[in-house]
Structures are given as structure tokens and as C-alpha cells.
Symmetry: C2
Subunit: 200 residues, 2 copies
């Protein structure tokens, strides 16, 4: 029994690394319990013993992606701390675009993954998501002292930039055009910033 805990931890770490590599190289649709178990050199039952479900394993990988994205957004927030609101929002938006472009498959997996019918994402995962919005809220703090308005604006801005990046990277409007995508992000963040400066 005393050997079980280290084996379990070691296998968990190995499975996470395998799932992370598969998502990075091939994307979420390539994730299969059987394949991960085989590459980790154990039975499929062991995977379900450790992670309960494939959802839990995917969420663990997606949480790492959220953390990495949060680190980049926090860098942009810190690097722009002496700039005006428009420049700070732009710095965050361009950091988001850059992250999504460089880590396209893991980033896409965060939005592509849906829990199996009837299951909810765990609270700790939701907190990891909220942390991203909080970064935008911090930048808006001076302009929007009201908490509800700030929260709403942060989510709207985040989602707006996400929509532009997602549709562009999806080639939904033709081939991906990095310069055009950046120009669209600059347009929406610029216009919204001017609008925000004027509001009330």
C-alpha cells in the first residue's frame, strides 16, 4: 500500500504531460483515454481511477493553459502600468492575441471542451477563469469604480477580443491574416476605450 501513492502521483504527472503534448501538437479532438493510457504504459482503468473522467484530465490541462495565459496578461498589465487606460487595454488585448496565435491548439482546447452532459466544471476551474477577467478589471479600476459596471466591462472587452481572435484563427473569414486580426483588435479596443473615456 505504501508504494501506491508515489505510483499514483507519477502516473498522474505522466498522463498530464502526455495529454498536454497531444493537445499542443494535435488539438483536443486527438485526446482519447485509450491512447493516453497506452502511452503512459498502464491500463485505461488506471486513468479513470486517477482522473475519474477524461473531462477531469482535459480540465487539468486547460487549467495550465489558463495559468500560462494569465501570466502573459499579468506581464502586459505590469509593463503598461504607467500608460493610460486605452494603452493598457490594448496591451492586454494584444497579449491575448499573441498567446492565442502562438499556443493555438491549447488555447482552442479551452473553448472547445464541454463537460459531459449533466456535469459542471469544478469551482477551482471557474476561479482560474475569473482570474483572467480580474486582470482586466484591475486595469479598469480607476475608470469604473462601480464593481458591477467594471465586472461587466471587463467581461465584455475580454469576450469581444476573444471573438475577433477566435473567428480570425478559425479561418471563418478566409485565411488567417495576422495583420488584419491585430487591426480589428486595435479597432474595437480603441473605439471602446474612446467610448469609455466619454461615458457617464
Amino acid at each position: 500500500m505504501s508504494d501506491q501513492a508515489p505510483y499514483r502521483e507519477k502516473t498522474k504527472t505522466a498522463m498530464l504531460a502526455i495529454a498536454e503534448r497531444i493537445i499542443a501538437e494535435e488539438g483536443l479532438p486527438a485526446i482519447q483515454a485509450r491512447r493516453i493510457a497506452r502511452e503512459a504504459d498502464c491500463a485505461v482503468g488506471t486513468l479513470y481511477n486517477i482522473f475519474t473522467s477524461l473531462d477531469d484530465l482535459i480540465i487539468a490541462v486547460n487549467a495550465r493553459t489558463l495559468t500560462a495565459l494569465g501570466d502573459k496578461l499579468a506581464e502586459a498589465r505590469d509593463a503598461s502600468k504607467d500608460a493610460d487606460l486605452a494603452a493598457r487595454l490594448m496591451a492586454l488585448a494584444l497579449a491575448y492575441l499573441r498567446f492565442a496565435t502562438v499556443h493555438q491548439k491549447p488555447w482552442r482546447a479551452v473553448f472547445e471542451h464541454h463537460m459531459s452532459e449533466g456535469r459542471e466544471v469544478p469551482a477551482w476551474y471557474r476561479e482560474a477563469q475569473d482570474h483572467l477577467f480580474a486582470l482586466v478589471e484591475q486595469v479598469l479600476a480607476d475608470r469604473l469604480p462601480d464593481q458591477l459596471a467594471r465586472r461587466r466591462a471587463a467581461r465584455a472587452l475580454f469576450s469581444a477580443v476573444h471573438g475577433i481572435v477566435a473567428i480570425s484563427l478559425d479561418h471563418k473569414l478566409g485565411q488567417f491574416d495576422a495583420a488584419e486580426t491585430e487591426a480589428q483588435v486595435r479597432f474595437i479596443v480603441g473605439a471602446a476605450s474612446r467610448g469609455l473615456a466619454q461615458a457617464d
Copy 2:
């Protein structure tokens, strides 16, 4: 031979109706060639004979969804024709939100579907997508006479609203909250409109 064409047309129409119903009721992941053939009372080979690939059948259904969405956006454009730019953009954005909320699964299928590796969506489908952006461009015509700027702004606004609606409907930030989603759409379109009025 003379009976083949009517049979082909009839089967095609039946398969389209079946695929449309499955997407509307169960969503894109429920689409399977075997099931559609079975419900259309023919062999799987007949499906591939008529549609070449499952992609082509899905695209045909998604094109109908784009047409229905375009009709709603055109209604909003026409109904708001005497209003100012901000009100017109808002009318289009809220029509988009309403369509996505009411026709959630078909709307989601448009964005969830990706062509098989190495295949491109046909030009006629891309034109159907462009038609949606053109509706936004028409509303921006007076404010942005420059074609490139207008095209860019239309796509950015469309994608921004799409991002808010998509993230909200995905429950990516908790349960879907219709009032909060509308408030976020109003925030981004309102701020962007004020910013647009100020631009140059």
C-alpha cells in the same frame, strides 16, 4: 435512368431535412452518416454519392442557418433605417444575440464545424458568410466611407458581439444570464459607437 434524377433530388431533400432536424435538436456532434442514411431509408453509399462528404451535407445545413440569420439582421437593418448609427448597430447586435439564443444549436454548428484536413469551404459558402458582414458594412457606410476601414470595422464589431454571445451561451462564465449578456453587448456596441463617432 430517367427515374434517377427525381430520386436523387428527393433523397437529397430528405437528408437535408434529417440533418437539419438532428442539428436543431441534438447539435452538430450527433451528425453521423450512418444515422442519416438509415433515417432516409437508403445506404450510406447513397449519402456519399449525393453529398460527396459529410462536410458537404453539414455545410448545406449551416448555409441555411446563415441565410436565416441574415434575414433577421436585414430586418433589424431595415427597421432601424431612420435611427442614428449607434441605434442601428445596437439593433443588429441584439438581433444577432436573439437569433443565437433562440437557434442555439444550429448557430453553434456554424462555428463548431471544421472541414476535414486539407479541405476548404466552397466559395459559395464563403459568400454566404460575407453577406452577413455586408449587412453591418451597409449600416457603417455613412460614417466610414473608406471601404477598407468599413470592412474592418464591420468584421471587428460582428466578431466582438459574437464573442460575447458565444462565451455567454457556452456557460464559460457560469450559467447563461440573458440580461447580463445583453448588457455586455450593449456596453461594447455603445462604447464602440461613441468611439466611432469620435474617430479620425
